[in-house]
Amino acid sequence: MKPAPFEYFAPETAEEALALMAEHGVEARPLAGGQSLVPLINMRMAQPSVLIDLNRCPELAYLRGEDGMLVSGPMTRQRELELSETVRAACPLIAKAMPYMGHATIRNRGTAGGSLSHADPSAELPGVALALGAEMIAGGPNGRRTVPATEFFFAELTTALEPDEMLCEIRFPEAPAGSRAAFAEVGSHFGGLALVGVAAQIDLDSAGRCTKAALAATGAGERPTRLSSTEAVLTGEVLEKQSIAEAAEAAAGDVEPLEDLHATAHWRRRAAVAMAARVLHEIADEAGTR
C-alpha cells in the first residue's frame, strides 16, 4: 500500500489550478482533502500521473451569504461547515448532517468540493445538496457553468464534471423561515461506515402544515435519490403519526437500491423508509405537531 509515482503541483490560485487541469487533462486529478482520493492512491486503485493540490489556494476556501444563497468554496473544510454559525443559520440541514460525515479528524481535512466531486452514493453532503436544490459551479477551459444538483450526480463516483473541469463553488439556497431540517442515517453498526441516510428540510406554515417538503436519500441507489413520492404525500399535511408513516413508506418506491457486501437491496429500501420516518418524527417533535 504505497502510492505509485506522480507529478505534483501546488498551484496558489484557482486560475493556476484550472490551467494545470487544462494542460494535463485526464491524467490529472485535483487533490482536495485527500480523504477519499489518497486511500485509493495508496491501494493503487487510482493512479493519476499528476496531482494538482488545491490546498495552497486560499481563495478556494470560503463561506458567505449572498442573495439568499449560502455560498461555499470547494476547499472549505467539512469541519468548518459543521461548526460555522453562518451555515447553522442559513442551512441548518448542512450543520445537522455534517457530524455524521466520517469523523472529526476526517472532516478537519475533507472538503465540501471533494465530497461532492467524489460522489459516493452513501455520502451525506451530496444527499443534502440534492435535498436543498444546491447549484454546482463547474469551471473549465471554457469558463464556468452552473449545474443543478439534480443533474450533477450521475452514478457511483461519477458526476457531471468533465475530466478537465473543477468544482469551483457550491451554492445552497438558504432555508426559508419556518422550515425545519433533520438528518438520520444507519449503518451495519455504530460509529462505522454509514449505509443509508435521509436528509430532510420541511417548510411548515403557522398551522404546522407542510407547504414544501424536500427529502433525499443516500446509499439507496447508485446516487443520492430525491424522495419525490414522500414529498408529494407530505405536502399539505400536518406531520403526525399517520401522515409520517404514509410518507415514509412512499420512499420505498422512490429508491432503487443495489445489493452489496454490506447489505441487501431490500434492507437498504427498508432502511430508507425507516430513516425517512425518523427525520420526519424528529421534525414533528421539534415543531410540536406530533
Binding site: A10, G34, V38, P39, A104, G192
Partner: protein, 163 residues
C-alpha cells in the same frame, strides 16, 4: 520515480529538511525520514486513526497526507506531547485507567483526544464516544479510554489550563 522535492517542516519544535518524492506519505516521512516512529500505520487507508498527528493545529491522518503537502508547516506527534519526564494529563489518565494494552493505537488516540479536550473541555460520555469512534482499538474495548478522557478532562478543568 519522479523529481524529488525539498520538504521543510517543524516537528515537535525541531526543524527537518529532506528531499523526498512527492508520493511519500507524511507518515513515512515522519517515521523513516525524521525517525519519529511513535506515529503508527494501522491501515494506510484512513480508517484506523493510528497515524493521527496534528498539522498546523488540527488533527489529521498522516497516511492520507503527502509529505510535500506539509512543506513549511508545523507538526506535533506523540513524541511532542509530554514535557520531559512529565506526562500530559491525558497520558497520565491513560496510564492510571489502563486505557492501553498493546499500545499500537494509543498515539493516534492521544493526538485526536488532545485536540478534542481543547475544543470540548467538559465532554459528556456521548461526545467522548463519538470522538473515539474515529480511532480503532482492537485490544481495550474502549471502556478504559472513555474513563481516561473523563479523568483528564476533569483534571484539566480543575487546573483551569490546557494540557
Amino acid at each position: 520515480m519522479t523529481a524529488r522535492r525539498e520538504v521543510r517542516v517543524t516537528v515537535n519544535g525541531r526543524a527537518y529538511a529532506r528531499n523526498v518524492e512527492p508520493r511519500m506519505l507524511l507518515v513515512d516521512f515522519l517515521r523513516h525520514e525524521c525517525g519519529l516512529t511513535g506515529t503508527h500505520v494501522g491501515c494506510a487507508h484512513g480508517v484506523c486513526g493510528a497515524c493521527t498527528i496534528v498539522l498546523d493545529g488540527v488533527s489529521v491522518r498522516s497516511c492520507l497526507t503527502f509529505a510535500v503537502q506539509a512543506e513549511g508547516k508545523e507538526i506535533t506527534t506523540v513524541e511532542g506531547l509530554a514535557d520531559g519526564e512529565s506526562l500530559t494529563a491525558l497520558q497520565q489518565a491513560f496510564h492510571e485507567n489502563h486505557a492501553l494494552q498493546c499500545g499500537y493505537c494509543t498515539p493516534g488516540f492521544l493526538m485526536s483526544l488532545t485536540e478534542f479536550l481543547r475544543e470540548t473541555p467538559n465532554p459528556d460520555e456521548g461526545q467522548i464516544r463519538e470522538r473515539l469512534s474515529g480511532n480503532l482499538c482492537r485490544c481495550t474495548g474502549y471502556a478504559n479510554i472513555v474513563s481516561a478522557v473523563q479523568m483528564a478532562a476533569q483534571r484539566l478543568r480543575e487546573k483551569g489550563g490546557v494540557s
